[in-house]
C-alpha cells in the first residue's frame, strides 16, 4: 500500500520544518521524511544559534535577502511559536587599521543589504556593552540576536504537525522514481506517492537532487567545532563577539556567542572534511579555539568547559573556491516536474528559514494555485519553564501539577513536568538526546551525571521501549544490552 500525499518534504531540519509549517497554511496533505530517529540530529541543532543581521552576504544574493527578511520577521514567528530569543546586538571587534577598513566595508554592505542599526564603536563603548571583550574598536550590529535553534526547529515542526503535516522518522529516502504524474519515494521500508517533492535534505541534498534527476551538485561538508562553557561565565558576555571575518575561509572566524540559556559557545572552526556525519572534535581545533577565543575573550579557561561538539555546514563551495555559494532554491520543470530543490542551505540558513519556506511556496504557486487551510493555527506553546519563575509562581505551578515539584535535572533545574512534556509533545522525544534538546535536561555542567538514569526510566515508561531498544541519539546508538540479572 502506498502512502499518498500532495507534497512530501525530505528532511526535518529547520528548513524542512519551516517549509512544512508554512505549507500547512494551505489545504495540502503533507508528509515529512526524516532519516534520523528524531528531530535535531543534524545541522539545525549544531550551530551558533545566531539571528544574523545580513551583512556577511553578497548584495543581491538570496542569502543576503532572506537573511535580512528572516531577521525582520523573527519577532513575529518567535511569538507565535514561543521560541526563546533575544536581540542582543553583536560586536565584530578589530585591532588593526586593516581591520578597521574591513569593518567599514562590512557596515556598508550591511546597509546595502537593508539591515538596520550599524554603528562603529570605540574601546569605551565595547567596554560598556561587553566588559570582558577585548578590542580596539568594533562594528556594532543592532539587529543581530541569539535564539534557541532547538526550540525554533521544534516549534516549526510541532506546529506543522498540529496543522496536519505527518512526520516519519527513521525514514531515509533510498529511491525516487517518477511516474506519469506523481513521484514514488522508497523510505523506511514504505512507498510514498506524492505529486510534489521538496528536497530539504541538508548535508544529503546533492544526493536527493541526483535522485530527483537534477544532477550536478556536490555538497562539501565543512565542520565547525565548538566549546560550550559553564553558565557561571554567562554574565561576562551579554552579546556575541566576533573577530573580523576572513571570507577566503568561508567561515566567520572563531567567535563567542551567548546562548539564550545562559551558556557561552566558543567556535566554530572551519574545516573541510570527507565524512558528512563525522561529528568529531579534534585536539588540534580545540587548541586553536582556545588560542583564538582567548584573544577577544581572555576569561576562557578549561575549568569552565562543559562540553564540546561539532556541526557540519552543507557547503556548495569547495575547499579550492572557499567562501560562500548562494542558496540554490529552484524548480527545474525540464528535469523534475513538481519538485522544489534546495541545495547548499548553510549559514545564514537558520535566520533565513522562514523566507526560504516562502520562496518554496512562491515556486509552487507559480504553477499551481494553493487553497487556504481554514483551520490553520499559528500558535505553539511550550510548557512553562520552572526555573525562570518567581518562587510564588513556582509554588503555583507545583500546586497545579505536582510533577513541577520533582527536580529531575539539578544543574538546569528541569522538573519532571518539563521532561514529561518533552515525552508527550506533538512530536515526542524518542531518544535520550531528543529529551535533552526539548527540555534541556543533561545540558548542564554534570552532563547527565545526575539525571541521565532518571531520564532513561521516564523514556522507557512513556515509550514502552525496552532497555535494549533505547537509543542515545542516532540509529544504532544503543545504550544497554539488557538486564544485569534477568527477572
Amino acid at each position: 500500500m502506498n502512502r499518498r500525499f500532495d507534497l512530501v518534504i525530505i528532511g526535518a531540519g529547520v528548513i524542512g520544518s519551516a517549509i512544512a509549517r508554512e505549507l500547512s497554511r494551505y489545504r495540502l496533505k503533507i508528509g515529512v521524511l526524516e532519516r534520523g530517529p528524531d528531530l535535531l540530529g543534524g545541522t539545525s541543532a549544531r550551530n551558533s544559534g545566531v539571528l544574523h543581521a545580513g551583512f556577511n552576504n553578497e548584495p543581491g544574493s538570496k542569502m543576503a535577502r532572506f537573511c535580512v527578511e528572516g531577521n525582520r520577521a523573527f519577532d513575529r514567528i518567535a511569538a507565535e511559536l514561543d521560541v526563546p530569543y533575544k536581540r542582543t546586538g553583536k560586536l565584530i571587534v578589530g585591532f588593526t587599521a586593516d581591520d578597521y577598513d574591513r569593518l567599514l566595508a562590512l557596515k556598508a554592505r550591511g546597509e546595502q543589504n537593508g539591515a538596520p542599526g550599524f554603528e562603529m564603536v570605540g574601546r569605551e563603548r565595547i567596554r560598556e556593552l561587553a566588559p570582558a571583550v577585548e578590542g580596539e574598536f568594533a562594528l556594532y550590529s543592532g539587529s543581530t540576536g541569539i535564539l534557541s535553534p532547538f526550540q525554533y526547529t521544534l516549534g516549526l515542526a510541532e506546529n506543522a504537525a498540529k496543522n496536519g503535516a505527518e512526520f516519519f522518522f527513521s525514514h531515509p529516502v533510498t529511491e525516487i522514481t517518477r511516474t506519469k504524474d506523481s513521484w514514488l519515494l522508497a523510505a523506511g521500508g514504505e512507498q510514498f506517492e506524492t505529486r510534489w517533492v521538496v528536497n530539504a535534505a541538508g548535508l544529503f541534498a546533492d544526493r536527493i537532487s541526483d535522485m530527483l534527476g537534477i544532477p550536478g551538485y556536490e555538497i562539501y561538508p565543512c565542520r565547525g567545532e565548538y566549546f560550550l562553557l559553564d553558565p557561571r561565565l554567562g554574565p561576562m558576555l551579554p552579546l556575541p563577539a566576533y573577530p573580523v571575518p576572513n571570507y577566503k575561509t568561508g567561515g566567520l572566524g572563531i567567535h563567542l556567542t551567548p546562548t539564550v540559556d545562559g551558556n557561552i559557545m566558543v567556535g566554530p572552526s572551519n574545516e573541510y572534511i570527507d565524512g558528512r556525519e563525522d561529528y568529531a572534535v579534534t585536539q588540534k581545533v580545540m587548541d586553536l579555539l582556545i588560542a583564538d577565543g582567548s584573544r577577544i575573550f581572555p576569561h576562557l579557561k578549561r575549568e569552565f568547559f562543559i562540553r564540546n561538539f561539532s556541526g557540519i555546514r552543507p557547503k556548495l563551495s569547495g575547499k579550492k573556491t572557499g567562501g560562500y555559494h548562494d542558496f540554490v532554491i529552484e524548480r527545474r520543470d525540464d528535469l523534475a516536474p513538481r519538485a522544489v530543490n534546495l541545495v547548499g542551505i548553510e549559514s545564514p540558513g537558520l535566520t533565513a528559514a522562514l523566507p526560504i519556506a516562502h520562496e518554496v511556496i512562491r515556486l509552487i504557486r507559480e504553477i499551481e494555485p494553493l487553497e487556504q487551510n481554514p483551520f490553520f493555527d499559528p500558535i505553539r506553546r511550550r510548557i512553562p519553564s520552572f526555573r525562570d519563575k518567581t518562587p510564588e509562581q513556582q509554588a503555583e505551578l507545583i500546586r497545579q501539577n505536582p510533577d513541577y515539584g520533582e527536580i529531575i535535572c539539578r544543574c538546569e533545574t528541569i522538573t519532571k513536568a518539563e521532561v514529561l512534556a518533552a515525552l508527550r509533545s506533538p512530536l515526542p522525544a524518542r531518544t535520550l538526546t531528543g529529551v535533552k534538546y526539548r527540555c534541556r535536561a543533561m545540558m548542564g555542567r554534570c552532563q547527565g551525571g545526575y539525571c541521565q538514569t532518571r531520564l532513561a526510566d521516564l523514556l522507557m515508561a512513556e515509550t514502552g521501549l525496552s532497555r535494549e531498544e533505547l537509543l542515545y541519539s542516532r540509529e544504532g546508538s544503543w545504550l544497554f544490552i539488557g538486564e544485569v540479572h534477568p527477572q
Binding site: 562543559i306 515539584g405 552532563q447 544504532g476
Partner: protein
C-alpha cells in the same frame, strides 16, 4: 513565601548529613530537618554494594548500604525529620533555604545551615577528549547506578579511563557480571585510587593498569566502536607514535570528583579553587556565618569513615555557633607540597587537626606545621599517596602567635 523557622537545616541526607544530624540529636538538639532530593536517605552509599566501608568508624567491614543503614535506621528510630524528594533550589546568605517537593515549595529560615551535598563526577566534556560522540561513554558512577540500582547492563567490552576508586570498583563489577574489561588507563604516573582497590579489583581479576596513558580518541558513529590510547610525557601530553587502538563498546570514566557547590556559590560563600569546596575555619564554618560545610562537598575524601567523623565534629561546632560561643579563627593555613589544606583558618586557641592530600607519591616523608619560621607540630609518614588523605594534629599549646601557618610536606 512564608518561611518555617528551623534551628538547623541540613542539605543532603547522605553520610555527612546523617552523621551530623545524629550527633546533634545525641547532644540534645531536636529542632533539625534534613532535606534529601532522592526518595530515600543514604546518598551515594546506596549504590556502593561492595564492601570495605566502616573499618575506622565501626571497626568492621560493611557494604555501602549496610554502612548507610547504621545511620538511616537509627534516624528512623529516633524520628528525625527527613524530607525526601526535596531538592534545594535556593540558599541565601541570610540562611533562607528553599526546596522543591511534590507537595510544594518549602521555605525554611534557619539559625544554622549544614551543607552536605556531596560531589559529582568529572565528565568527558570537562576533559575535552577528542573524537566522536557515540553512545557507550559513561562516568563510573552513572554506570554504577545503572547496574546496581536499575539492574541495567551497560556493555560487553569495556575500557576504563582513570584509576579512581569508583573506576576500579566498576572494573571488577563489570567483570563479575560477564563483561570483558580490557584495561584501566591512568594519565598520572601513579594510581589515583587506593592500593587495596588495585589489589582487589584489578590484580585479582587480571585487569591490566597502564600508568601514564590516556584516551586520545573516541571512535564510533552510533555506539562506541573503539578508543585510541596514547602514552603521555611528564607534562601529560600524548607522545606521538604511541597510539594504540582498542576495540570496545563501553568507556567508563573515573577521572575525578568535583564537590557540588552550586548552592554554596548561590549563598555567596567563598570557594577555594584548590578544593572546589568552601573555604572553612576550624569549625567547618564557611565565610558566611552560620553556614557550615563538611564531607565531600567540602573536599573529596578517600574513605566514608572520615566523612562521618568530620560531620560529627562539624555538629559540635554548629551547637557552639547556636549558643554564640564560636571562637574566631584569624590564623590562615596554607599548604606546601600538598594540594590543599582543610581548614583554611584556625583559632590557635584549641587543638586542631588539618587534613591534606599529598601532591605526588612519596616515601619516608615528614609533614610539619610551620609558624613564624618554626616547626610547631610534625609527623613522619612512611609513605604518602595522593589517593589517601593525611592528617596532622596541632595542639593548642603549640601555637606561637596569630601569624599564618604553613603545612609543609617534604622528603625526610
Amino acid at each position: 513565601m512564608k518561611a518555617v523557622e528551623k534551628k538547623i537545616v541540613i542539605i543532603g541526607a547522605g553520610p555527612t548529613g546523617l552523621a551530623a544530624a545524629l550527633r546533634l540529636y545525641d547532644r540534645g538538639e531536636r529542632d533539625i530537618v534534613l532535606l534529601e532530593r532522592e526518595r530515600e536517605p543514604g546518598g551515594i552509599l546506596r549504590q556502593c554494594i561492595h564492601d570495605g566501608f566502616g573499618l575506622t568508624r565501626f571497626g568492621e567491614t560493611l557494604s555501602g548500604p549496610e554502612y548507610a543503614a547504621r545511620f538511616t535506621e537509627r534516624a528512623a528510630g529516633l524520628g528525625l525529620e527527613i524530607v525526601t524528594g526535596a531538592t534545594v533550589i535556593g540558599l541565601t546568605s541570610g540562611r533562607v533555604v528553599t526546596a522543591a517537593t511534590r507537595e510544594g515549595l518549602r521555605v525554611y529560615r534557619a539559625q544554622a545551615v549544614i551543607l552536605a551535598m556531596g560531589c559529582r563526577e568529572r565528565t568527558r566534556g570537562a576533559l575535552s577528549i577528542p573524537g566522536r560522540r557515540p553512545s557507550g561513554v559513561f562516568t563510573a558512577g552513572v554506570a554504577q547506578t545503572y547496574m546496581n540500582l536499575k539492574n541495567t547492563m551497560v556493555g560487553r567490552e569495556a575500557v576504563i579511563l582513570g584509576s579512581g576508586d569508583i573506576g576500579m570498583i566498576m572494573a571488577r563489577r563489570l567483570t563479575l557480571e560477564g563483561a570483558h574489561v580490557k584495561a584501566v588507563f591512568e594519565i598520572q604516573p601513579y594510581p589515583s585510587g587506593l592500593p587495596r582497590n588495585i589489589e582487589q579489583c584489578l590484580n585479582d581479576y587480571g585487569i591490566p593498569l597502564y600508568l601514564s596513558h590516556t584516551v586520545t580518541q573516541i571512535n564510533g558513529d552510533s555506539r562506541l566502536s573503539s578508543v585510541v590510547v596514547s602514552e603521555v610525557d611528564g607534562a601529560r601530553r600524548p607522545i606521538p607514535g604511541t597510539e594504540r587502538e582498542i576495540p570496545c563498546d563501553t568507556l567508563i570514566l573515573s577521572v575525578g570528583l568535583i564537590p557540588e557547590n552550586e548552592l554554596t556559590r548561590m549563598a555567596g560563600a567563598q570557594i577555594d579553587p584548590g578544593t572546589a569546596g568552601a573555604v572553612v575555619d576550624e569549625h567547618y564554618q564557611t565565610s558566611i556565618p552560620g553556614i557550615f560545610s563538611a564531607g565531600n562537598v567540602l573536599h573529596v575524601h578517600d574513605l566514608v569513615d572520615f566523612v562521618s567523623l568530620e560531620a560529627e565534629a562539624l555538629a559540635d561546632s554548629v551547637l557552639e555557633f547556636c549558643s554564640g560561643s564560636l571562637r574566631g579563627c584569624p590564623i590562615e593555613v596554607s599548604g606546601e607540597g600538598c594540594g590543599h589544606v582543610i581548614p583554611q583558618t584556625v583559632s590557635g586557641k584549641a587543638d586542631v587537626t588539618v587534613s591534606f592530600r599529598p601532591r605526588r607519591p612519596m616515601r619516608g616523608c615528614i609533614v610539619s606545621a610551620v609558624q613564624d619560621g618554626k616547626r610547631i607540630a610534625s609527623k613522619r609518614l612512611p609513605r604518602a599517596n595522593p589517593a589517601e588523605m593525611e592528617r596532622l594534629s596541632i595542639p593548642a599549646a603549640a601555637f606561637l602567635s596569630q601569624s599564618p601557618i604553613k603545612v609543609v610536606l617534604q622528603d625526610d
